[in-house]
Symmetry: D2
Subunit: 366 residues, 4 copies
Amino acid sequence: MSMNSFGHLFRVTTWGESHGPAIGATVDGCPPNVPLEPAMLQQWLDKRKPGQNKYTTQRQEADLVEIMSGVFEGKTTGTPIQLMIRNTDQRSKDYSDIMEKFRPGHADITYWQKYGIRDYRGGGRSSARETASRVAAGGVAREVLTAMVPGLSITGCMVQMGPHKVDRDNWDWDQIAQNPFWTPDAQAATDWAAYLDGLRKSGNSVGAVVEVVARGVPAGLGAPVYNKIDTDIAAAMMSINAVKGVEIGAGMGAAELTGEDNADEIFMGPNGPEFSSNHAGGILGGISTGQDIICRFAVKPTSSILKTRQTITKSGEAAEIITKGRHDPCVGIRAVPVGEAMMACVLLDHLLLHRGQVGGNQGVIG
Amino acid sequence: MSMNSFGHLFRVTTWGESHGPAIGATVDGCPPNVPLEPAMLQQWLDKRKPGQNKYTTQRQEADLVEIMSGVFEGKTTGTPIQLMIRNTDQRSKDYSDIMEKFRPGHADITYWQKYGIRDYRGGGRSSARETASRVAAGGVAREVLTAMVPGLSITGCMVQMGPHKVDRDNWDWDQIAQNPFWTPDAQAATDWAAYLDGLRKSGNSVGAVVEVVARGVPAGLGAPVYNKIDTDIAAAMMSINAVKGVEIGAGMGAAELTGEDNADEIFMGPNGPEFSSNHAGGILGGISTGQDIICRFAVKPTSSILKTRQTITKSGEAAEIITKGRHDPCVGIRAVPVGEAMMACVLLDHLLLHRGQVGGNQGVIG
Amino acid sequence: MSMNSFGHLFRVTTWGESHGPAIGATVDGCPPNVPLEPAMLQQWLDKRKPGQNKYTTQRQEADLVEIMSGVFEGKTTGTPIQLMIRNTDQRSKDYSDIMEKFRPGHADITYWQKYGIRDYRGGGRSSARETASRVAAGGVAREVLTAMVPGLSITGCMVQMGPHKVDRDNWDWDQIAQNPFWTPDAQAATDWAAYLDGLRKSGNSVGAVVEVVARGVPAGLGAPVYNKIDTDIAAAMMSINAVKGVEIGAGMGAAELTGEDNADEIFMGPNGPEFSSNHAGGILGGISTGQDIICRFAVKPTSSILKTRQTITKSGEAAEIITKGRHDPCVGIRAVPVGEAMMACVLLDHLLLHRGQVGGNQGVIG
Amino acid sequence: MSMNSFGHLFRVTTWGESHGPAIGATVDGCPPNVPLEPAMLQQWLDKRKPGQNKYTTQRQEADLVEIMSGVFEGKTTGTPIQLMIRNTDQRSKDYSDIMEKFRPGHADITYWQKYGIRDYRGGGRSSARETASRVAAGGVAREVLTAMVPGLSITGCMVQMGPHKVDRDNWDWDQIAQNPFWTPDAQAATDWAAYLDGLRKSGNSVGAVVEVVARGVPAGLGAPVYNKIDTDIAAAMMSINAVKGVEIGAGMGAAELTGEDNADEIFMGPNGPEFSSNHAGGILGGISTGQDIICRFAVKPTSSILKTRQTITKSGEAAEIITKGRHDPCVGIRAVPVGEAMMACVLLDHLLLHRGQVGGNQGVIG
C-alpha cells in the first residue's frame, strides 16, 4: 500500500522531486534474463525530454538514466532495478514570489495544507519532472514485453490540441514521429504549430488529448471486476500530472450509442475471433479481447502562464501572480511518451498476473 | 493484491455470481464504534434494486442485505463486516443458446478464453448484479463518513441519456429523487421517459453519463502522485461494469481550455480559501481542495438487446443471437447509486490514509 | 493492505466472530478449473472440530462449510470463493463476569483499549474459532496444490506437549492419525494422555510445539529478501492465535551450531541436487531447495483456566477471575490442522507468484 | 505486492546488490515535518558497519548514506525518501571457483535454479550487505517515532553466542554499547571474545540469538488477526538473512508453561494497567499491551567458512569448496542493529495504521 507505487507483480515506485539531486524509479518484480541496457531506456526519455523545440519547456535536462541495480552482464536478474536520473538544470533564481503565493491551478495550495511543508522552488512531487521516472520504468516494461510477446507494440499520439482534433481520415502511423506534436495527422501538425505559437507568444497554454494504442495484446489479460485491465489503465493514466479524464474505446461517447450500435459483432477469422468494430477498445468485461487496446486521456493546460491571476498568500492575503519560468505551452505533447510508458507497465503487470493465476488461457475457441 | 478488492485502509472485497446462492462484500478496516444497522444499508440497495419501474430490468430481487459479522449491539467493532445478499430470482429457463454462443458486447468471450469455465446462466462476476455488493459496502462507508465528517454529502445523478444532456440551468438537487432517472433536470426527465420508452419497445438500449458530486469534503485528502484521490476515483468508477470513461472536473473538456480559462483563481473566504470556478473538480495535484469533488462517468448501452446480432459459437461457427431476458434499456440509471457508493468508499479510504500518514492537515492558511 | 487477509496472489480474508451468526473466508485469486466440493474442505474442518475427545473443548460445533461462490459444476471458476461456517453452539449464559473483567493472557484488555467495543460473550476475532476459516481456505489451497504439483504433501503433528518432547527415533508418519494428539510418537501419545488428563482435571492447561512438514515442494519458490518463503511462513504461523514462536529447519537451535555443522553439503542425485542434512529446513536464501520444508511453532497454554487469577475491571478496580467455560486444556492439539492450512496457503501463493514473475525455474543443474 | 518491500503505511523497498554500484532503500509513507539529516541515519549504519574489529568481516565499506529525496530544509516532506549507499570495497579477485560451484548453506543454488542468472561475485540480494539499507530505513523510522512517541526506545543486544547464553542476572543495559558483541552481560562479553577468537582462527563460524526490546510502546497497536503486531515482527525478523527462528515473549518456551504459569496477571498502576510478568512479550491478541515488546531471533552461523565442504557444480559434478573471503565469524553481531531497525519500522507502521483506522485508543480503563 505504497503511496508512490503502481502495479501489482510488476511494481514501480517513483521517488524524487524536481529540485532535489535526482529522481528515479524502483522497479520490482521484473522477470529475469531479459536484456537491458541504459540505451534501451534512454530512447524513451529522449522522447519526453524538455527543450527539444520551441513547443516544450526550455528547461535543459540531460535526463540521463543510470541503472543502479538489478542488471548483471546486460540482463535483468529478477531483483529490484533502480533507475536514477540526476537533476542538472536547477537555476538559482528568486523564488520569493511563489514561496509565499499559491499558483492557481497548481498543487501548491493543497500540498501546503496537507503537509505543511513543500519545496517552493518547484512542484516537488507534483512536477511534471516526475514523469521521467515513469518513462524510464516503462522502458523496462517494454523490453520485457518484447521478450515475452513478440509483435506487441505500444504507440501514443496526440489527437486533439485545444479545440482542434485530428481528422481520422488523415491517420498515418508513420507520421507520428515526423512532427513535434506526435500526431498522426500531418495537416493537424501544421495547423497546431501556428496555433500553439500564438498561444506561447501570448503567454498562454492549452490542453490536449493523447491516445495510446496497444496492438498485438493477447486475449485473456485482466479480470471481471476490480482487477479489470481497464481499471488499471484508468488509474495509470489518471495518476499522470494534469490528466482530467480517461477513456477506453468509445469512451465518454459510449453514452450516446444505442446497444445496437455499440456492441461489436463477432466473426471467426483465420487466427481466432475478429470483431466488426472496436467500440470496446479491446476490452470486454475487464479482459482483453485481442483487438487493439485503445485509451485516450485529456491533459489540462499548463497552469504556469504569463498572465496575471488572482490568488492568496500563505497568510491569507489577496495577491496577484504571474508565473514566470520555463513552462510548456502544451504539456500534453510531452505526455505522449508518458502515456505509452504507463500502458507498457499495465500490460506487463497483467501479463504476469495472468500467468500467475491462470498459467495461460484455459478456453479454446474453434 | 486481491483481484476482487478495492481500497487501501478501508478495503472492500466483493464475491458472488449472479446465479449462485448469494453475493456479498467483505468490508475490512472499518473504524470501530460507528452505529450500523441493516436498514442504513438497505436504503441504498433499494435505490439500485431492479424492477422498480419499466425503465429497469424486470428481474425481481429483494436484495435484502444481512450483516454477518463486524457489528455488535448496533455498532461496528473494527473487525471485518461481512455483508450478504441472497439471490432469490433465478428462473429456470433454457440457457442452451447463450451457453454455446458469445453475446456481442459481453464478457462471455473473454471470460471463456481466460478461464475456460463460466456460469453461462448469467454474467457471473461480470453481471451488473455484482454492483449490489458495492452499494452495500458504500452504505457502510457513508455511515462512517457521517460520523467522522459532519456535513459531507455524496449525490449522484444522470446528466446525459444517449445524446440528450441535461440543461444545467435547470439543475435542481431536489428533483433528483423525484424521477426514475435520478436527474436534476425535470424537463430532461420528461423527455427521457418518452425517448427511453421508444428504445425499450424496439428492443434496443442506450448509454448514459452519471455525475457524482461530493460536497463538504475537507481539503488535504490524497497525495501528489500515484495515491492521488483522482487516481482512486478513476479506478473505482472504471471498475464498475460497462463504464468506458471517467472525468474529474472539466474532464475531457479540459483539453479545449487555455491555461487562462482553466486555472481556478483563489480568494480568501470566511472559512478558508475559495475559488472563482471549479474546473479542477475539487482536486489539485491529487489532493482535495475543499471544493465539491465532481466526477462523471459514461456507461455504455446494455449489450443484451432484442436485436439479431452476428456472433460465433465456442466451436468457432458463425451464428446469430438475440439476447432475450430481463435487461435494462438504460443500465446507466441503476449505476447512479453504484457511483455514489464507490465515491463514498474512496473518500473514507483517503480520510483514513490521511489520518494515518499525516494525522491531520499540517499547513495553515491565514 | 487488508488487516484480515494473508497471501499475495492466493489471498484469503477471514471474517466473523465467535458469537455472531457465522464465520468464513473469502478466497481470492484461486486458479480456475480445479475440482472443488464441500467434502474436500470438510475433512480438514472435521480434524480441527472441537468436542471430538476429552482433550479438546466440549463446545459442540458442526463446523459445516458452505461454498457460497466461485465454484460452478464442481470446479473453481477463478473468481472469489466464499466459504461460510455457521456458528451453532452459542449458549446463553451469564457473561457479566467476563464483561467487566479482563481475563489474564487474553486479548480482552488490549481489544478494549484499542477499539472501545468488544463482544464480551467470546473472544471476538481473537477466538480460536477464527481458525476454522483458515482450515477451510487451506483446504482450497490443498486441492489446487494437488492439481498443480502431484506428490506434494503437507503434514502437521505435535512434537512437544509442555516439557515433554517426542522421541524422534520413534517417528512414524502413520501414527499421526492414530492418536488424539496428532503425534508421530506412539509412546508420547500414551504419556501425554495421562499428563494432559491430570492438567485438565486440575483446571489447568499447557503449551505445545507443532511441526508442519511439506514434502515434494519444488525448488525455486520464494525470493531472496522480503518475499522469502520463510518470511511468509513465519508470518502465517505467528498470525495464528496463541503462537509465540516460529522456527524453520534448525530454528532457534541454529544459534548453537558452527558453520561447519550447519551448512548442508550438496550432492548430485538421480533427480537433481541432494543434501547431506536439512538444517536449512528446505529453504536457502528465502527460496525452496526441493528438500522438505520444515516449520515448527510454539502454542502457548490456553489462558482460560479454572484457577483464580488476579486482574482488574474496566473501571480499574482490582478483581479475581476464574474463567469457566468449555476450553481446550492444550489448544496446541487443534492447532495442527491450522498450521497445515497456513502452510498450504503459503505454498500455493508462492507457486503462483513464481509462475507469475519467472514462469518456471530458469536455471538448470547438470 | 512488491517482492522487496515491507510495511503497509510506512513502506520500505530495498534495492541493490553487493557488487553493484550502490544499494539503498525507498522509504514511502513517512509523515511530514520530521527533522531528518544524514547524520541521524549514519549513527546506526556505523553500528552495523563491517571491519570495526576482528569479530566482523574485514570488508571495508564506508557505508555513507545519502538522502536523495523526500527531505527539504532538514525536514521530511511526506514524499518518498530515497536513501543511497555506494558500494566502495569491491575487490577484483578470482571468482571462477564460486562462479561454477554452489556454496553449501548459501542461496547460490536456489538463486541459480530460480532465476538462471546471478552475480557470482557476491550474494547478490542475498548478501548481508542488503541489511545496510534496512538500517538506514530504520533510522528514518526512529526519528519519526521519537517525534511521535516521546520515551519510546528500541534496544537490541546479543543474548546467546553458540551454546553460550548470557546470565540474565548480569543484565546491564549500559553494558551493551561497551563491548563488540552488543551484549548486556559483561562476563559473557569476555567469555565470547575468547570463544569466537578460537572459532575465527580455525576458519569456522557460529550462530547467535539477538534480542530486541522496545520500551515505551503505547497499548493498542496491532489487530486481532492477520495484522497482529507480532505477525509483522515475525515477518520482519525472519526476512533478515540467516534468521531461522523468531520468538515473542516466552517464545518457543511458552510450550513448556502451564496456563497458570503463563498468563500475566493484571493490576492497576498509577498510569494504567500493569502486569505481574511479561510472558506475553508486550503483545496480547496481536495488540500491544504497553509492556516492553520483546522479540528474539536466531541467526545461523555464516556459511562461508575456511573448511573444505562437499558440493556440486552447475553442471552437476561433485566438487569440494573452501569459501575464502572476508566473512563474519558470527554474523549475529552485526544483526543487532538490523533487528533494531526492523522493529522501528514495524512499530512506526503500526502506529500509523492505528491512527488511520482507529484515530487513537477508544477504550478507557479506570
